[in-house]
């Protein structure tokens, strides 16, 4: 059970029911649960899509695509069944927010998936939870069972004449499966190999039927939008970036934790005030603003509003909300190596640029960090990464390339310090110490 934190600047929408016992369906009902879906039943599909569009809700998995827009791509008429798929395969390093939603408020995800189903005219939804989160799968299984027992799911929900089934599904360990087309492959009982697009899942998805795929946090926000209204939600954030989001503060911070802050909250404030600053009197070296795949930001670049557009303007991505803070004792080469080791491990091997690129990057960075780096390696690392970018079926190749390129570009000097048989300058000085030791 992950511990909860709080800060006065938090705006609690998604985390409103955290610690309130809302896994119990009766408690969830007391806390306005399943009111939004009943309201949604009376609104009609077009009104629902418009409401979510106007709320400025954008995908919380990382891509930041407009949720209402995504829903609108699903064809009204379809010969094949339509599906809603909740992506709870949270595995982007730095990200641990969906875990809290499933742990404390599983019904909000079910309710959000129900509303998504109504909006696109689907009668079947799946909630996919990663294999490592077994205790959360157990919580979700019970939540779904309880919702059926109350008659909220199944035939003729809330006496509306609408039939709607929501099922759970569990993974078995694979980052790649968090990518939407690989997620569908996994749900169909296959290896999580991405599909080529177009056609997009909204047109051809699960078992060939139109499919809407949303992150768990995105779906958890939907009931609040339907109840509170699009205007209210939009105004919580910045223009075109509605609402709040769960930021996972991690790394070298005094008060790491998952905090719900308005979209557009200043990153510097997030680190120094919400996160309590850098421990042990050390100073900030860099920040990974949105999960391991997002380009690193330098201390002089962190006076930025944490919304999708502002972070993009600053040369990175808001991503999945995983803010990883690095102090001045961190070796960037080692950090880059650990990042690439992950992507090499998780690459499914389907596209050659990603399979070969991540492997060569890992090999080069390993040798480099060990002190056997050559000057030409620095450009080669950049070149390898650059040649993966945009050349793969799914974004895993980009996810490996983007941070690597930023590390080389922004910390070239540190790469050069590793050259000529010199071992890592940080380890030699013995300053790489774990914070918790």
């Amino acid at each position: 059970m992950a511990s909860l934190v709080s800060h006065p600047d938090e705006v609690r929408v998604i985390s409103k029911r955290f610690g309130q016992g809302a896994t119990d369906i009766d408690r969830y009902l007391q806390l306005d649960g399943y009111k939004a879906v009943q309201k949604a039943l009376g609104m009609g599909a077009d009104a629902l899509i418009n409401e979510v569009k106007n709320s400025g809700l954008r995908g919380r998995g990382g891509a930041g695509f407009s949720t209402g827009m995504k829903w609108s791509f699903v064809p009204k008429q379809s010969a094949k069944p339509k599906y809603v798929l909740c992506n709870g395969d949270e595995s982007e390093p730095g990200t641990c927010k969906d875990r809290l939603i499933f742990e404390h408020d599983p019904h909000s995800v079910i309710e959000g998936a129900m509303i998504a189903a109504l909006a696109v005219g689907s009668h079947t939804g799946y909630i996919y939870i990663r294999g490592e989160y077994r205790y959360l799968l157990v919580i979700m299984q019970k939540a779904i069972k309880d919702a059926y027992a109350k008659g909220f799911l199944g035939k003729n929900i809330f006496g509306s004449g609408y039939d709607l089934d929501i099922y759970w599904h569990g993974g078995a360990g694979a980052y790649e499966v968090g990518e939407e087309s690989a997620l569908m492959e996994s749900l169909e009982g296959k290896r999580g190999i991405p599909r080529i697009r177009p056609p997009f899942p909204a047109v051809v998805g699960l078992w060939g039927g139109p499919t809407v795929i949303n992150n768990a946090e995105t779906l958890a926000a939907v009931p609040h939008i339907i109840l509170g209204g699009a205007d209210w939600y939009a105004k919580l954030g910045t223009p075109k970036n509605g609402g709040t989001r769960l930021f996972c503060l991690a790394g070298h911070l005094n008060k790491p934790g998952v905090y719900e802050l308005p979209m557009g909250y200043n990153l510097k404030k997030m680190i120094y005030e919400v996160g309590g600053g850098i421990p042990n009197g050390r100073s900030l070296k860099a920040v990974v603003p949105g999960g391991s795949s997002t380009p690193v930001l330098l201390p002089e670049e962190i006076d930025v509003a944490m919304d999708f557009d502002s972070v993009a303007k600053a040369g990175s991505m808001l991503g999945s909300g995983g803010v990883v803070v690095l102090d001045d004792t961190t070796c960037i080469v080692k950090f880059a190596l650990r990042t690439i080791k992950f992507y090499q491990h998780e690459s499914c091997g389907w596209c050659i640029p990603c399979r070969e690129g991540t492997d060569w990057l890992k090999k080069t960075l390993t040798r480099f960090h060990a002190g056997a780096g050559l000057k030409k390696d620095i450009d080669n690392i950049y070149y390898l990464a650059e040649n993966m970018l945009g050349k793969t079926f799914c974004p895993l190749g980009d996810a490996a390339a983007m941070p690597t390129m930023a590390f080389v570009k922004k910390f070239r000097k540190e790469f050069e310090d590793h050259l000529d048989g010199k071992p890592c300058p940080f380890e030699k000085a013995g300053v790489v110490e774990p914070v918790m030791a």
Binding site: M1, A2, S3, E90, S91, E92, P93, G94, T95, C96, D98, R99, Y126, G131, E132, Y133, R134, Y135, D165, Y167, H169, G170, G171, A172, G173, A174, Y175, S186, E188, G189, K190, R191, G192, W207, C248, L249, A250, G251, H252, P256, G257, V258, V288, S292, G322, V324, V325, L326, T330, F335, R338, T339, F342, H345, E346, C348, P434, V435, M436, A437
Partner: protein, 160 residues
Amino acid sequence: MRFSEEFETRFADMLTHYPTKRSALVPTLLYAQDEIGSLSDEVIQELAQRLELTELEVRNVISYYSMLTTKPRGKYNVQVCTNIACMLRGGEELLDHCKKKLGIGHQGTTQDGLFSLEEVECIGACSWAPAAQVNYDFHENLTNTKMDQILDNYKKKGTQ
């Protein structure tokens, strides 16, 4: 091949969730592994038959997912995360400590079959790093001392 009643009920239920039998494969493999200890030839044969797949198709899926294994692990599988957020807060040192304490390396198993050790990728405990999972249980904000206590407790539990 016999699974528990709970497994069978869940399995029968799952088959009603999807338009194809195959869709139940990934979660079913993990549940089967939890009961049997590993995905043995017998388990693979059984599940392939039930889901109307070839054994090769099942093996093909098994090899993709990092939690699935055809070789038995220890009773308690200690999975230490060393990914970026954990690394910054001592995940690698914690892994080294576990290696020494258990006397095994990555993917090794102790002779008594009680523990196995794995260096794993991000387990979603970044804000509570460094973290580890023992089987499905999360242990967070770890130190070497805390880890020692945790392992000792499992040892006690496992040898009772």
